[in-house]
């Protein structure tokens, strides 16, 4: 077989070289092993072993000698890898073998190929026409064609972005694309009937409803012309749920158990209103920029943004999650004049990873595959960016099966004097960073709709593939340019691509762009595709013409591509050209303000639920172990360790600390400036289970939990800002919207009580899935509250691991008979009715006093009491500290109805803190807590046990720490 094929390229005879790289004998083939393990999970037993190989296809004009150098010097690590030029045969031996090759679809970003291209240039390779990479798998054993196809589809390849080639003889897809023939397309709309308008919206994947289509129709009737395709697309992007949050901003008539409440604008009268009413002078920029900005110190501000990337992660978990984190990092990069990202947060919701294969509907990936892919995607992108991933959570519920939730957050540091933008007419529009391809087209509109079993096929183009290094380079140079004052405004290209970024930046000014100037990954894109592509790693800046050379020099010096694509005009119009010819023009006012307002109906009927009767027991060891071993509570060490949480050298409170570095911390703290002891703390709160009873209390519990977590590590409760991320189902159903209204009301009440303004937020609606048989799976009401606080002096931070035998354990806060939605009920398959509620005034006072105790140095350890209640919190503190705790429930401050030991042990009442105090500080601590519900419940002991005695002095928990820790670590120790 020939080692290469001859082809013509730029008039040269280029050869196509194929390199195969495999593990040397004696070296483990990690990817092959992983595939084999996954095949086992599919219950396919015919595969006895898997060999994986990397394939490089290089079209270049070098000769055989040079090709051999490429093999051994660049592509293979000759200590542990073999390389082969050309296609290798099937391995000799008695076993049958099937070969499967996985190639990226043409146009999908291939970062490795780009690096190889530049390395070839360093080697002096001459003309290189193309580099592609692929993966080759040899399945050993008597594998049927059907099994082979299943393995390829379920494990080896993702249809959205990859092509599979079976056997030895087929050729890989061509890397070359056809050039684009320019043609302006008008779309007649003025004469269409309502039915036809709806049809048009559907055909073009615009996800606009009839009312919006009519608004557009009226506008063009007024203009007396038809829209061009790019104009319609721009409107669809800008008016998408994803971009304008039309549901949360609509007027709502709420019927709450018969009582009528009206909102003119739901968001403005709940979440925004709290921020406005609180009017904190340390808020710098809220709900107006890409991230919310608050004061850090006299010189710097910090900003925080949390985004979801749910739909893309459902289709391609790895790529979806990677671009989720990549995208949210660009938010702080595009906030003010650009912040330096200093920390990432990640919260995921999945179905149980051990779900049976046959319970997974068509068009849905298995939750284990989703989880592994999502974690790997965030890991690879976040780690490559050099931003520590310091805080997160994992939540499991089978209703997330078809709609996994991926929340990615980023915190950035920005100088106080660079918190606002100032683009002026005459400034040039410059796009910086990645090139534009066909990836991610219709991401904004697609993520605004619900998913069906056919989405995999129809929306494969909405999947984006990231290249972290492009973003890192872009960031490095942009910060240099920012500090040299070389640009006037900056924003990121996110959902809607350039159409949103440029459209927003030019909203007040007007802007003119020539779409032909935008650098492309490959030929063939139409002007509309260029305009709405959501290709990653692109930022848009406004540059004064006089500073262009200076800023370009910075980009050039570090191989970052930057291109002038237009000008800010001052005519308040969006004008699009292609090679000089006008292809679309829209009034900024119509684009941004023209969207019609909605009136929606919402209903909330208080649910009639009852408390289950669970048998009283003498001993709750097993219940405790079951809760510790439930996926939600279990140790997330497998995930956490894959994230670099220490890069940038700023970590103070890491996600895992304690005697053996494996205790679960309540919040993360970083010290973002090397020469200051001031810190930033980050945490989150979320409890969808409570939403099944009442989303109002769910939302309040989320705020309380997020605040509690920050207070636990030593943050100042007077300086906490919070963020909301709603993930909801279809809000055209009044009940679903009613639940959202309830949660929003709680957001207002909670923020006001705690004095914690919302500074940024985002919603993702329509998280529903329609199965082939018409069954609908909707996610539980999910509200993530993320919180960010200031720690005055990081040297005073506190962790949750107990420190010394003889120290006293206090519980501050009232334990009530509130097992509704608890993990205790969950492990008994019950929901219950008594959802944890709150007396806001007391909750706030408790947080302040606990913070004061920490500030005064009275606290040796402090732990938030939440999922699993007191028993779980005690167990975690004990095993994290490697010391036992003996507790007596008689010391617990309880409400009158909290009598039974299981309620005391497992109730999830809010606003409770477990605190370790040295005996000599008993008086000082007790004095500080005066008039609050609190009590001494126990003592730290040398014996590595958790002992809990109930009111009658029966020992209701008597368990070894090693046992408890093992139960907690086992489920996700993958």
């Amino acid at each position: 077989m020939a080692d290469y094929f001859l082809q013509q390229y730029k008039g040269l005879n280029v050869k196509q070289w194929r390199f195969e790289i495999s593990s040397k004998q004696g070296f483990s083939d990690i990817s092959g092993k992983e595939v084999l393990e996954s095949i086992g999970q599919l219950n396919i037993s015919s595969v006895e072993d898997v060999i994986s190989e990397k394939v490089f296809l290089i079209e270049a004009d070098f000769d055989q000698d040079f090709a051999e150098r490429v093999g051994c010097e660049l592509l293979a690590d000759t200590v542990c890898q073999d390389w082969h030029l050309g296609k290798s045969g099937i391995p000799a031996g008695p076993m049958q073998a099937s070969v499967v090759e996985v190639h990226l679809k043409s146009g999908v970003t291939d970062p490795v190929a780009e690096s190889v291209k530049s390395a070839l240039a360093d080697m002096g390779a001459g003309e290189v026409a193309s580099v592609r990479t692929a993966r080759k798998y040899v399945l050993l054993g008597n594998v049927s064609e059907d099994d082979c196809a299943t393995i390829a589809r379920r494990i080896l390849a993702n249809d959205c972005i990859e092509d599979v080639i079976f056997g030895m003889d087929s050729d890989p897809p061509s890397p070359h694309t056809q050039p684009y023939q320019m043609e302006v397309t008008e779309i007649p709309i003025r004469e269409l009937s309502d039915e036809q308008l709806t049809q048009l919206s559907k055909e073009k994947d615009m996800f606009l409803n009839l009312k919006e289509m009519r608004t557009i129709q009226d506008e063009y009737k007024k203009l007396d012309r038809e829209p061009t395709d790019v104009e319609l697309e721009t409107l669809a992007q800008t008016w998408s749920e994803h971009c304008v949050h039309k549901t949360l901003k609509s007027s709502v008539d709420m019927d709450h158990d018969g009582q009528k409440i009206h909102f003119d604008n739901l968001l403005k009268e709940t979440v925004f209103k709290a921020t406005k009413d609180l009017n904190k002078d340390w808020c710098i920029s809220v709900f107006e920029d890409n991230a919310g900005v608050i004061e850090f110190d006299d010189e710097d501000a910090i900003c925080f943004k949390v985004e979801t990337h749910n739909h893309p992660s459902a289709l391609d978990p790895y790529g979806g999650a990677a671009t989720g984190i990549g995208g949210v990092i660009r938010d702080p990069m595009g906030t003010g004049m650009g912040a330096k990202p200093v920390a990432n947060t990640d919260i995921f919701c999945f179905a149980r990873p051990d779900m049976k294969l046959e319970d997974v509907p068509k068009g849905v990936l298995h939750p284990r595959r989703v989880m592994k892919g999502v974690v790997a995607g965030v890991r690879d992108y976040g780690n490559r960016m050099g931003i520590p991933t310091v805080n997160g959570a994992l939540y499991f519920d089978d209703r997330y099966l078809a709609n996994p939730l991926v929340f990615c957050g980023n915190v950035g540091l920005v100088p106080r004097e660079k918190c606002f933008k100032n683009a002026q007419p005459g400034n040039l529009v410059v796009v910086v960073g990645g090139r534009t391809g066909r990836d991610g087209i219709h991401g904004a509109t697609f993520s605004s709709g619900e998913m069906t079993h056919e989405h995999e096929d129809i929306f494969s183009h909405a999947v984006q593939i990231g290249n972290a290094i492009t973003e890192k380079k872009t960031l490095d140079t942009l910060l240099q340019a920012r500090d040299a004052n070389l640009y006037e405004s900056i924003t990121d290209c996110g959902a809607g691509g350039l159409s949103s970024a440029v459209g927003e930046m030019g909203e007040k000014l007007g802007v003119e762009v020539d779409l032909k100037k935008i650098p492309l990954k490959y030929a063939g894109l139409t002007y509309t595709e260029v305009w709405i592509s959501e290709a990653q790693e692109r930022m848009v800046i406004a540059v004064e013409p006089g500073k262009l050379d200076a800023i370009m020099a910075i980009f050039d010096a570090e191989d970052v591509e930057a291109t002038v694509i237009g000008t800010f005009t001052g005519d308040k119009k969006l004008t699009l050209r292609y090679d000089g010819m006008q292809v679309g023009q829209l009034e900024m006012e119509f684009l941004h303000e023209g969207i019609c307002k909605y009136d929606r109906k919402a209903v909330w009927k208080t649910k009639k639920l009852s408390e289950p009767v669970l048998e009283a027991k003498d001993n709750y060891n097993d219940d405790l172990k079951k809760i510790l071993g439930s996926y939600n509570v279990a140790s997330k060490e497998w995930v956490i360790r894959q994230y670099d949480h220490e890069v940038q050298g700023a970590s103070v409170i890491k996600p895992l600390m304690g005697a053996e570095n494996d205790g679960p911390m309540d919040a993360a703290v970083i010290r973002p400036k090397y020469d200051h002891d001031k810190g930033v703390a980050m945490s989150c709160g979320m409890n969808p289970c409570y939403g099944d009873i009442d989303p109002y209390w769910m939302a309040l519990a989320g705020i309380d939990e997020a605040v509690r977590n920050l207070v636990c590590v030593g943050a100042d409760p007077e300086r906490i800002a919070i963020l909301d991320n709603y993930c909801w189902g279809d809000c055209t159903r009044p009940e679903t919207l009613g639940a959202l209204v309830r949660a929003s009301q709680a957001c207002y009440d909670g923020a006001m009580a705690f004095g914690t303004p919302f500074i940024s937020g985002k919603d993702s609606l329509n998280n529903e899935f329609v199965c082939e048989d018409g069954t609908r799976i909707a996610i539980p009401y999910t509200l993530l509250i993320s919180a960010m606080g200031i720690v005055e002096d990081v040297n005073r931070c506190v962790t949750m691991d107990v420190k010394k035998a003889g120290n006293l354990i206090f519980v501050v806060g009232l334990t009530k008979n509130e097992l509704g939605g608890s993990h205790y009920y969950k492990v008994h398959n019950e929901l219950g009715a008594n959802v944890p509620k709150m007396d806001l005034e007391t909750s706030v006072e408790i947080s302040r006093r606990v913070a004061k105790a920490i500030e005064q140095g009275l606290v040796r350890s402090c732990h938030d009491c939440s999922e699993g209640g007191l028993a779980v919190a005690l167990a975690e503190m004990a095993f994290a500290g490697g010391l036992g705790i003996e507790a007596d429930l008689r010391g617990l401050a309880v409400s009158d109805d909290c009598i039974k030991p299981d309620a005391m042990l497992f109730s999830e009442s809010n606003s409770r803190y477990l605190i370790e105090v040295q005996p000599q500080n008993y008086d000082a601590f007790a004095k500080l807590m005066l008039n609050l519900p609190f009590g001494q419940v126990g003592e730290v002991i040398e014996d590595k046990k958790l002992l809990v005695h109930d009111a009658n002095q029966n020992t209701v928990i008597d368990a070894g720490l090693d046992d408890l820790k093992a139960a907690w670590q086992k489920p996700l120790a993958w």
């Binding site: 070296f27 483990s28 990690i30 092993k33 992983e34 051994c72 010097e73 660049l74 592509l75 690590d77 000759t78 200590v79 542990c80 970062p111 490795v112 690096s115 190889v116 530049s118 390395a119 360093d122 080697m123 890991r379 780690n383 490559r384 960016m385 050099g386 290249n467 972290a468 290094i469 890192k472 380079k473 010096a557 570090e558 191989d559 956490i640 360790r641 894959q642 670099d644 220490e646 890069v647 940038q648 050298g649 700023a650 970590s651 103070v652 890491k654 895992l656 304690g658 005697a659 570095n661 010290r671 090397y674 990081v794 040297n795 931070c797 962790t799 691991d801 420190k803 350890s861 500290g881």
Partner: protein, 266 residues
């Protein structure tokens, strides 16, 4: 010499340059972070420094293999100037990705000659962790030689590792023997009692528990753990449990030794 100057080399995907600069400054050096393109344009830039650091990160995304593309770039553009730098008695330190670059250029262990860069004679490599995934965890390190200027003989260090490709593997038994008996293993992973052991004591499955390599001069060292991430006590993973938080944080040992060496020898 009092005026110790260090250069921290940046490249696409390098991301530990700022904290490495900070650690060197704490140790008393004057530090500049310089992009590799500038050094390639004007290799003489290196003449002004006595310490060269390849910091951690994911140079060029670690595409192909960790550190490979940057190693390729360095060998093709900077071999001569680096050879001279090392011959002049100056110091080269590689941390994590920087170590991967040093091993793939052959600077360490340098069995083919001091400061001789090459892509073809690689005798030892850093490859995928046995666990198969990237991991961030803390490890204890025992010095394995007295020759290397960066370490304090007999002084054990506690530092974090954060990598996916940190397993040291030699080409063959003879090479491993040369490294072990020739004092090329600068640090080994050990437990709290100083003994070698399986995962997680040895976090990646490195042969002979090797965590760091030096060359025959002892003036070049590459290590997988990150000394720049433990330069103050609040970075320790159980600092809230420690009674004694005075004294130098472990990571500073390496930077201080480097700066002191230059002060005494230049």
């Amino acid at each position: 010499m009092d005026n110790v100057k260090a250069i921290v080399l940046r490249a696409a995907g390098i991301n530990c340059d700022l904290e490495t600069e900070h650690a060197l400054e704490l140790a008393g050096a004057q530090v500049e972070r310089v992009h590799i393109n500038r050094v390639i344009d004007d290799p003489a830039v290196l003449d002004g420094y006595q310490i060269l650091v390849f910091p951690g990160g994911f140079s060029y995304g670690d595409d192909v293999a960790a550190g490979k593309v940057l190693a390729n770039q360095i060998v093709h553009h900077l071999s001569d100037i680096l050879h001279k730098f090392i011959e002049d008695g100056k110091l080269v330190l590689g941390i994590c990705n920087g170590f991967q670059v040093m091993i793939k250029t052959g600077i360490v262990p340098g069995l083919n000659g001091v400061g001789k860069l090459s892509l073809t004679d690689q005798v030892v490599t850093l490859t995928d962790n046995d666990s198969g995934v990237f991991e961030d965890r803390w490890v204890h390190l025992e010095p394995g030689t007295e020759r290397c200027v960066f370490l304090t003989p007999g002084k054990r260090l506690y530092l974090p590792v954060a990598h996916g490709e940190g397993k040291i593997v030699a080409k063959d038994v003879d090479t491993l023997e040369k490294i072990t008996s020739g004092g090329f293993a600068a640090f080994r992973y050990v437990d709290t009692d100083g003994k070698q052991g399986p995962f997680p004591v040895n976090p990646n499955g490195s042969q002979d528990s090797i965590a760091a390599l030096t060359d025959s001069t002892g003036r070049a060292m590459g290590l997988m753990p990150h000394p720049e991430r433990f330069v103050r006590w609040t970075q320790h993973p159980h600092w809230t449990r420690l009674k004694d938080r005075d004294g130098m944080a472990d990571g500073m040992t390496i930077f201080t030794n480097a700066v002191n060496y230059v002060k005494e020898n230049f």
